[in-house]
Each structure stands twice: as structure tokens, then as C-alpha cells.
């Protein structure tokens, strides 16, 4: 009896003690959304003659991060301590004092045509390094790519998702007046640098699309007077016409994720349907057969489904069907017309062009059509394409009037950070390629 009572007493005492020391549990659901203040001191030149390259690389790293709209650079004039050596310990108190929350330090070494870039990323307020230091080796000609790779790594370590800086965009370069505009295929870095032309302006070209590996480009050419699909090898600029199912017009092509299949629209006898061609076997498959216009197909990331636009309901809307064809499912039900759908590389969203009340919009919706959000509004916005990480959408915008011109813009999927890409001439129909190896 005594033992039992003492046991009860002990348990009660222990319980009381536990209650007294139980942690206070709270939930926080309201924070802030603002760019992260960061500092990038000029990279250290480890050997003489590397100063300019070190400065250029650190500047480009900062520009890449600022361009996302997620970061805010603290100017060097506010620095308390200058990071003299790459191996030197970081005085976190000095960086906390100027409210730098992230710090990127680095060094560059130029040896003839070779360049070595290394960097570290720190969380200032916790005084810890985010990941380990990393080093890239390349040539001086490719210093921009090396800076983009550093920025990608920094971006990834802070945000938790991969970057998109070391990537390229294929697009249609436009020159001349609106009624006699010359169009050429061109390729450039994601920030508009390093423009290279892939075709001349002898024939109208439209809608280039990168292959998943970025080594080939599909595009529509009017070289023969009728729209035909060509495949272009980016490395040697060699091109050949894609053998499709015979028809009057073939257009709006897009690669499958494995790069071995191509889906496109084929117009024949007044009807337009979606077809698929296997590049390895040359077999053609008809995926739709409705007496309406089906076009702009785009594969889902896993390759099991296709999103496309159709006017079978009497109005241009977005549908999803199995990759092998079959009964489509309509997912857009809002007012206006929906077109040019593109599946996000993350698989969770579909970007589209919407025309309503005389305005064009770029928007996103979930794959079931819910949570539609319009990100832009303009006289003419069209042709969205996703960044490799699915965070940013690029599209072309044309200004109103007889002298209206096309430009390429980018916008975050939150609708923030709308930016115009710096191009030397008019530009339209962008297709964002993958991260380069």
C-alpha cells in the first residue's frame, strides 16, 4: 500500500516537473517578403594581373542575384571591413552592423588563358557558412559563364532551388518596319549577352523551341512558301526539314522531354490536329481528330500528358490529354481566350497567354485549372517560356502602333520583378533552354 502510494506520488511529482519545463509552443504564420540584403566584396586577385577579371566576375555575380528581385546588394561604400584574403576569417559583427544577411567572398586567378574562380557563401547572422567553398576552372573567354555558375550556386544555397543564370535563350530577332520585318533565329545568354545568329533573314522563321538538352532547336520556316518544321543543330548551325505526316502546313513543334519525339500541329483540308513523330523510328501518330483547331501542344515534365489549346468548345481554351492521345479534359474556364500553354519544368503550373477585354495577359494556373493568376497586362503579351527552375517566365511583348516593336520580358511567377531583356534589336518568341553543363 505504501509502495503504491509513493509510486503515485513520484509519478505526480515527475509530471509536475515535466509541466513546469515543457517548452512554450507557438506558431508563426506572418512574416515579411522583401529582398535579402547581401554583400559581395570584390573578389580577391590571387595573382597579379587578375584584378580586372576578379572585379568583373564579382560584379556579374551581384548583377545576376539582383536581377532575380530576391536580393538587394549593399554598396561597397557601406562596408566596414574589406575582405582582404579569401582565407581570412570573416568578421561577422562588421557585416551584421550594416545588416548584410548573406556574404559572398571569392577569389580569381588568371593563368594565361586559364581562369580559376572560387567562392564561399556565409549566413551572417548565424555566423555559419552555407555549404562548402567551391571552385570553377575555365578559360578567360568564358568568364561570364563562370560568373553565372557562381551566381547559380549562391542562389541555390540561399533559396533552396536551382538557379537559371548559366542558360541560353533562342528567339526571333526582328529588324525593319512592321510591314516588312526581317526575322532571324538568334541565341543569347539569359541576360541578353553573347548574341549569335543561327539563320539569315531570307525566310520567315517562327516559334523556335530548344531541345531538353539545349543542343538542337525546332522552328517553323516559310522557306518553301508553306510552314514547315526544321531541326537546327546549335553547334554547327546545320539544319534539316523534319519529316512529318504529309499535310498542307506543319507548325508549332515542341520536343518531348526525352528529346526523341516531336509533337506539332498539322493542318490538312481545313482541319488542324496534333501529331507526334518519333525521331528514331520516323513513325507518325495522330493524337487528336476533332473537327476543330488543336495546336500549341506541350508535354508534361514526366512525358505522360500533353497540354494544348483548342477551339472545340466554340472558344479558344486549354485542354489536357494523355500523351498517347485520347479524350481531352478542359482546364480553363475563365472569361476570354486562352492559348499557347506551356507546362512548367516543375510540373505544378501551366503558363498561358490570355486575351480578354482587349488586353493580353501572361498567366499561370495549376494543372487542374485552379488558382489562375495573371502576371502581366499589355497591348500584346504572348508566348511564355519557363526558366529551367520554373521560377521565372519569359515572354514577348509588342507595343501598339504602326511602329510598334517586340521585346522580350521576364517576370517572376509571383508577378513581381517584371524586367525587359536588353537586346540590340527587336526580339520575340523566346524559348528558354536548360542549364548548361
Amino acid at each position: 500500500m505504501i509502495v503504491r502510494l509513493l509510486t503515485i506520488l513520484a509519478v505526480l511529482m515527475l509530471g509536475t516537473q515535466a509541466i513546469a519545463q515543457a517548452p512554450l509552443r507557438l506558431e508563426l504564420s506572418e512574416g515579411v517578403i522583401e529582398p535579402l540584403p547581401f554583400a559581395v566584396p570584390t573578389f580577391q586577385a590571387e595573382v597579379a594581373g587578375s584584378e580586372q577579371m576578379a572585379a568583373d566576375i564579382s560584379r556579374l555575380v551581384a548583377e545576376d542575384l539582383i536581377g532575380t528581385g530576391l536580393f538587394r546588394q549593399i554598396p561597397a561604400s557601406a562596408f566596414i571591413s574589406q575582405h582582404a584574403s579569401f582565407t581570412q576569417a570573416v568578421a561577422f559583427a562588421d557585416w551584421r552592423a550594416i545588416n548584410a544577411q548573406a556574404l559572398v567572398t571569392g577569389a580569381a586567378t588568371v593563368n594565361g588563358a586559364q581562369i580559376i574562380v572560387k567562392f564561399r557563401v556565409y549566413d551572417v547572422f548565424t555566423g555559419t557558412e552555407l555549404g562548402d567553398g567551391l571552385q570553377f576552372v575555365g578559360t578567360t573567354d568564358s568568364w561570364r559563364r563562370m560568373a553565372h555558375k557562381v551566381a547559380d550556386a549562391v542562389y541555390s544555397r540561399i533559396t533552396g532551388e536551382s538557379g537559371y543564370f548559366d542558360s541560353r535563350v533562342v528567339y526571333v530577332s526582328e529588324t525593319g518596319p512592321k510591314d516588312n520585318r526581317a526575322k532571324r533565329l538568334a541565341i543569347m545568354d539569359f541576360d541578353g549577352a553573347n548574341v549569335q545568329f543561327l539563320t539569315d533573314s531570307s525566310a520567315i522563321v517562327l516559334a523556335p523551341r530548344f531541345s531538353p538538352t539545349g543542343d538542337r532547336v525546332l522552328y517553323t520556316s516559310y522557306e518553301s512558301g508553306f510552314p514547315r518544321i526544321n531541326v537546327l543543330d546549335v553547334a554547327n548551325v546545320g539544319r534539316q526539314q523534319l519529316t512529318t505526316q504529309p499535310g498542307e502546313m506543319a507548325f508549332s513543334p515542341r520536343f518531348a522531354r526525352d528529346g526523341r519525339q516531336v509533337i506539332y500541329s498539322l493542318a490538312d483540308g481545313g482541319n488542324t490536329d496534333i501529331w507526334r513523330t518519333d525521331l528514331t523510328t520516323g513513325q507518325h501518330s495522330r493524337l487528336t481528330s476533332a473537327p476543330s483547331i488543336e495546336t500549341a501542344p506541350s508535354f508534361s515534365p514526366d512525358g505522360t500528358q500533353i497540354v494544348f489549346e483548342s477551339d472545340r468548345s466554340g472558344n479558344q481554351q486549354i485542354y489536357i490529354m494523355p500523351a498517347s492521345g485520347g479524350e481531352p479534359r478542359r482546364i480553363s474556364f475563365g472569361e476570354g481566350r486562352y492559348g499557347s500553354p506551356v507546362w512548367s519544368p516543375r510540373g505544378d503550373l501551366i503558363a498561358f497567354t490570355k486575351q480578354n477585354a482587349g488586353r493580353f495577359h501572361i498567366g499561370v494556373m495549376r494543372t487542374d485549372g485552379s488558382e489562375e493568376r495573371l502576371l502581366t497586362a499589355s497591348f500584346l503579351d504572348e508566348g511564355p517560356t519557363w526558366s529551367p527552375n520554373g521560377r521565372v517566365i519569359m515572354f514577348s511583348r509588342e507595343t501598339q502602333g504602326a511602329d510598334g516593336a517586340s521585346s522580350i520580358y521576364s517576370v517572376d511567377i509571383t508577378g513581381r520583378n517584371l524586367r525587359r531583356l536588353a537586346t540590340n534589336s527587336g526580339a520575340s518568341d523566346p524559348s528558354w533552354g536548360p542549364l548548361q553543363p
Partner: protein
């Protein structure tokens, strides 16, 4: 025989029928000719007099009317609107989609408006000679500092039911309110000639020069409220007289039960005793204190640079606090996470850890007398609401 008789009878019947038919027809024809029985009123109709005019007269009548010019382009009738839309929509069952969101208005990147040509403003005449300041300017005297906390030095208009350009003092009691001021006649004074007789004194209704609403904060209101005082201690449980119980204990079990009861009472008292100021006690944290603490950390919880996966990850971070309201940075740890991968949880934990440490320069505003309550904290960072912004 029978046939013949029948034939004779039929012949007689035919001549009778022919006769009747002939008479009938003759009567009908005669009736129609004579018109007997068909007299009826004529149908009503309108008669309009028509006069014949000549060509010259017609031209004079139609003067001013512009006939169509020969060779003029005929007006093309409006083409019928053809609905070229395909047949009725297929049986698509729309899912329940929320009201389409309002388009996100991007920063102005479109055509910039043409700036109007602005005429340069007239140049002011500039003189190096400073203007003369009149000596009789009013001198600004700084009022002495008030010794009363929260009392405004600025005069406040009195609230009044009537607004007038000039403030009017409240009338004296027992004076009637009227549109004009007037004085009651003094019976001792001599009556003035041609003066309107006034039977009583009146005054204008009280008025203020501006509207003073009740919503305005009184000038003497305290600027901040005091923190509620801690709950007073509960009365201590009466001390157990063990000696008496021991003396009167008839059996061992009873004594043990009494000891256990006393211990239980002591334990219960320890668990429920209110904290003493400066005693670092516990007790439930008030809602205001919790919300204030969450607001402080929330101001430093920046998810603006978080990736999509990170924004789908809910992390719970545990840490210990020091008595001055600062978290022990070495005690920060990831307790658990839901809704994401380990990689996204690591990033979410980094952001949460940064938030806890960043906002602690002066210590969190937590009641120091309840240190035991917030000595150990497990804080869940749920970015669900932040995703939709």
C-alpha cells in the same frame, strides 16, 4: 314479271323527279334574277376625293424634296451577322474554379506618356540685399515644458452644438437662447423712446469655430497602457500539523495517507503557485505577450527569397532563452518539419534561425517574471499564408 313491273314503276318515278328538278331550278334561277332575299347593306368603305394635277403643279408640290441622284452608289445593306462559331460546346463539366483573380498590375513598362513641353518658369528677381525684417514682428516664445504627462499645450476648441465663424461663449444660466443678444429692461431705468419692448434677456446659442468630434483623443489621455499586473498569489495551503496527526493516528496506513496527502497538497501548490516578481516563475503567457513575441520574430522572418519548395515546408525550431530575453544561439535546432524534403527543410530552418537571431539585439519583449514559461520555446514557422502573397 317482277322485273317489268319494276321497270314501269321506275320510269314513272324518273319523269316525276325530272319535273321536280326542272321546277326547282327554274325557281332558283328566278330567285337569283329577281334578287329576292339577298338584299344586304353594302360594306363600309372610305371615299377620298382625288384631284388631277399637272406636272408643273406636282413639281411645285414636291419642291424641297431631294430625290436620289441618278447614278449614286446605292447603300449597301448591312451584311447579316453570321455566327461562325462551331456547334454547341462539348459536355465539359467545369470544375469549381474560384473567381478569376485580378490581373497583377506590372510596373509601368509600356509606352511612356509624352511629356508636355513645359515653359520655363519666370526667373525670380534675385537681390543680394537681404530683406529688411520689421522690428515689430511678433516674437515667438517657446512655451515652458509641461510637467503633466500627456497634457497638450495646444488650446483645444470646446465642443459646441453650433458652428459659427467666431466662438461664442456659453450663455449665462437662466438666459434664453435666441438669434440675437439683448438685455432685459431695467425697471428702474427710464424707458428710451422708440425702443422695442423686450421682456427678458436673451443670448445667442453657444458656438465653436470648428467641429470637434467625439472621436478625437483627449489631450490628457495616456500615451501607452500599463502592463497588467501579475495575478496575486493564491492563499497558501494551511500547514499540516504532522505532530498532531501522528499523536492521533490510530494506524500506520492512516499516517501514511496523511503524509501522502500533505505531499500532494504541497506538490499541487507548487504547480499552481503564481509567480512572484523577480522569482522567475511560470504561469501561462498572456495572449498579448505571445502576439508581441510573434510579431517581433515575424518582422525578421523574411521568406522573400525562399524557393517554392521551401515555401511549402513547415518547420518547428526549438531554442532556449536567457533571462534577458535573448535566444541561446547554440541551442537552436530543427525539431521537425512537414510538407517538404530534407533539403527544403534545411533552407527553411536557415531562414527561421536567421529570423530568431536577427531580432534579438535588445532581447525579446517577454515578461521577465514568467521566465520559466518561455525559457524553452518551440516555434513553428508556417509559410502557408506567405505563399499566396
Amino acid at each position: 314479271m317482277a322485273l317489268r313491273l319494276t321497270g314501269q314503276t321506275g320510269s314513272n318515278h324518273m319523269s316525276v323527279g325530272t319535273t321536280i328538278s326542272g321546277v326547282g331550278h327554274a325557281a332558283l334561277v328566278g330567285w337569283l334574277i329577281l334578287g329576292w332575299g339577298l338584299q344586304s347593306d353594302p360594306l363600309p368603305f372610305e371615299v377620298t376625293e382625288v384631284s388631277i394635277v399637272s406636272g408643273a403643279q406636282f413639281a411645285a408640290l414636291t419642291q424641297g424634296v431631294q430625290p436620289d441622284q441618278p447614278g449614286a452608289t446605292p447603300v449597301t445593306p448591312d451584311a447579316p451577322v453570321i455566327d461562325e462559331t462551331p456547334p454547341a460546346p462539348l459536355a465539359d463539366t467545369p470544375p469549381e474554379v474560384a473567381t478569376p483573380p485580378q490581373p497583377v498590375i506590372p510596373p509601368a513598362q509600356e509606352d511612356a506618356p509624352v511629356a508636355p513641353v513645359l515653359a520655363p518658369p519666370p526667373q525670380a528677381e534675385v537681390s543680394d540685399v537681404p530683406p529688411e525684417i520689421p522690428l515689430d514682428q511678433a516674437t515667438i516664445v517657446t512655451p515652458p515644458p509641461s510637467t503633466e504627462l500627456g497634457t497638450s499645450l495646444n488650446p483645444k476648441p470646446r465642443p459646441a452644438p453650433r458652428i459659427a465663424p467666431q466662438a461664442i461663449a456659453p450663455p449665462v444660466e437662466d438666459v434664453a437662447v435666441a438669434e440675437v443678444d439683448q438685455t432685459a429692461p431695467n425697471p428702474d431705468a427710464e424707458p428710451a423712446q422708440d425702443v422695442t419692448e423686450v421682456d427678458k434677456t436673451t443670448a445667442q446659442e453657444e458656438a465653436a469655430p470648428e467641429i470637434v468630434t467625439e472621436a478625437e483623443t483627449p489631450a490628457a489621455a495616456p500615451e501607452r497602457s500599463l502592463r497588467p499586473k501579475t495575478r496575486p498569489n493564491r492563499p497558501a495551503a494551511p500547514a499540516v500539523d504532522t505532530q498532531t496527526q501522528t499523536a492521533t493516528a490510530p494506524a500506520v496506513d492512516d499516517a501514511t495517507s496523511a503524509a501522502v496527502a500533505a505531499a500532494l497538497a504541497a506538490a499541487t501548490q507548487a504547480a499552481t503557485q503564481a509567480p512572484q516578481p523577480g522569482n522567475q516563475g511560470g504561469g501561462e503567457l498572456s495572449t498579448d505577450a505571445k502576439n508581441g513575441f510573434l510579431r517581433q520574430i515575424g518582422g525578421c522572418w523574411n521568406v522573400g527569397n525562399a524557393g517554392t519548395d521551401v515555401l511549402n515546408t513547415v518547420v518547428t525550431v526549438g531554442f532556449s532563452m536567457t533571462e534577458d530575453g535573448k535566444p541561446d544561439s547554440n541551442s537552436l535546432r530543427l525539431v521537425s518539419f512537414t510538407g517538404g524534403t530534407q533539403a527544403s527543410a534545411d533552407i527553411a530552418y536557415q531562414i527561421a534561425r536567421r529570423a530568431v537571431i536577427r531580432c534579438t539585439r535588445d532581447g525579446y519583449d517577454l515578461p521577465r517574471d514568467q521566465f520559466e514559461t518561455w525559457q524553452n520555446i518551440e516555434l513553428t514557422f508556417n509559410p502557408e499564408r506567405m505563399r499566396t502573397r
